[in-house]
Symmetry: C3
Subunit: 236 residues, 3 copies
């Protein structure tokens, strides 16, 4: 039940039988697309529109409505990953299993996206970003280069849900967000800042500071964190 | 490897090749069932019983033991969603990807269920409920109409795990539960109450109150929350 | 698109059409492998190596590089579960849906692994362990017999991420970890200890103690917990 759109520009030989590539997608050299992946899945509005007009019996019936997505070279897209249309992914990007990347998202080179992560559309992610397992990234989030998102970090975009005003979180270069931390809509995480595991961040975090707790408060600096990290590493 | 049971009553033309519909399921008009979905997946006890008696080589071998599920009209069931047998879903319900809905669950009209949400069986969910990404809803939970469950809300049903007494959480009409909040077994969330992101709710929340923290305590009223929301929305 | 390696030793008749078994895997008597499961998925390094040398068009092209995995008898491996190579699973183990078990992991008899749980490789799990839905278990974690991990428990292995020294968490026999708790890299959870829902555990937990909060602190004993549990159970 795999399918590759005749409109797609495929520069790789590594699309596994069973993978689905819709619309005028572009897949770069040596990129691997696993079975049970979909590239170019149509957005909700188009699915609803086409269902009002005609019967859908094959996933390839979506081919005509998908504008496709662009995936660079030397990527690895693992089994179960779904990439919506209008996504642009750089080179040497890897996904784990069952990753969802929704529409109008851009992802830079060398970024890794862990299993079961959901990138919920309209998101900008830089290069060399490390996204661990099970992270949630909603619309309007901006994540700069070299950011580290620990397992199951959850980012929000609605301060008073359900409201009419969504405001994304911005995470500046080199910031580190610990496991299971929650970032509330609209906060800015400063360059090189560190958010401890389990923190709930309700206001902006200054650059190169370390925050902890619920609500998160400053407890130190990145320099102190790096010193402690060095000691910890030397114990091994 | 799709399969539609000859016992099923199918009123839609939109079952994508590769979808599986087991037992005497009923699928309403214009409902879309994506590839890689299963409707009517048999419960654990029946799977174990049949495995003791005969070999299972095809998913359709489950057809004889499934009592099927009922899905209303104009629903969208997205790729990877699994609905167990004995589920009743209303009209205009949508699921994201990789949603799991286990047995003996009822879901009202116009409810939306986000990607990777797990509804773990024996759950009642009303109409116009908004369930965001990655929510966990265990057995014996009751969720009334117009409730909003933010991303990765986790509900429990065992106060002293692992115990012999499971007690569900009840969430009354119009309540709002923030991202990543945990609701402890047996609590009642009052009508229109608001639980802040990251809270751990250990006791009942009065109607139209706002609670926050670990353990959650009352910090205000829904009216105050709505006033702040209005201000926030007007900033845009 | 199912595939069973000619190198595999299959002692069951219950491998559903559409399942994939790679390399010299061994599957025990009466074990059920659902459609859309993969057993013996190759590790990252091997995937990258083979992609540098040749085109991959079929999942069975991975057969030559997989060293396979061993699954005991009377297991149930549900739809969407992926088991990497080098995994050894005992008898009567069950997985929910979309479970990921990565390489060099051992799992004892009678252990249950809930839907969407990720076991991220190099993990040792004992017998009769109950792993609820959505749990995250990173490399170097050790979990002894009879442990209970509530829904969405998150375990970490990097105290100062991203660092060069990963240190696993050890959970001793019979410990209970509540819903959504976070265990920080390197901590030991003592035999029979209880971690409350939503706690963040930053240091070792003494045997048979109960801890709660962020950071978690001792609030009682397992004996007191069991007495409260008994009272709670008698209410029903």
């Amino acid at each position: 039940m795999g399918y590759i759109s005749p409109k797609a520009r495929i520069r790789t030989q590594n699309i596994v039988e069973g993978a689905i590539v819709l619309g005028p997608s572009e897949i770069g050299e040596r990129t691997y697309i696993d079975a049970n992946c979909v590239i170019g899945y149509p957005i909700r509005r188009k699915v609803i529109e086409i269902l009002e007009k005609e019967a859908i019996r094959w996933i390839r019936d979506f081919d005509s409505i998908s504008k496709g997505s662009i995936i660079g070279s030397n990527c690895i897209i693992r089994r179960g990953t779904i990439v919506y249309e209008g996504v642009k992914i750089g080179n040497r990007v890897e996904t784990g299993h069952n990753v969802l990347i929704r529409e109008e998202t851009t992802i830079g080179d060398d970024t890794k996206i862990g299993t079961a992560t959901v990138i919920d559309g309209h998101v900008r992610i830089g290069s060399k970003v490390s996204i661990q397992t099970g992270v949630y990234i909603p619309p309007f989030t901006e994540i700069e280069d070299n950011v580290f998102l620990g397992p199951y970090v959850k980012i929000t975009n609605d301060k008073y849900p359900p409201s009419k005003r969504l405001k994304g979180v911005t995470i500046h270069k080199g910031a580190v967000i610990g496991c299971g931390a929650i970032l509330i809509a609209g906060v800015e995480i400063g360059e090189g800042a560190v958010v401890a595991a389990g923190a709930v961040v309700t206001k902006d975090v200054p650059a190169r500071s370390v925050v902890l707790g619920i609500p998160a408060r400053v407890i130190g600096t990145r320099e102190e964190y790096e010193a402690k990290k060095k000691q910890w590493e030397e114990l091994s």
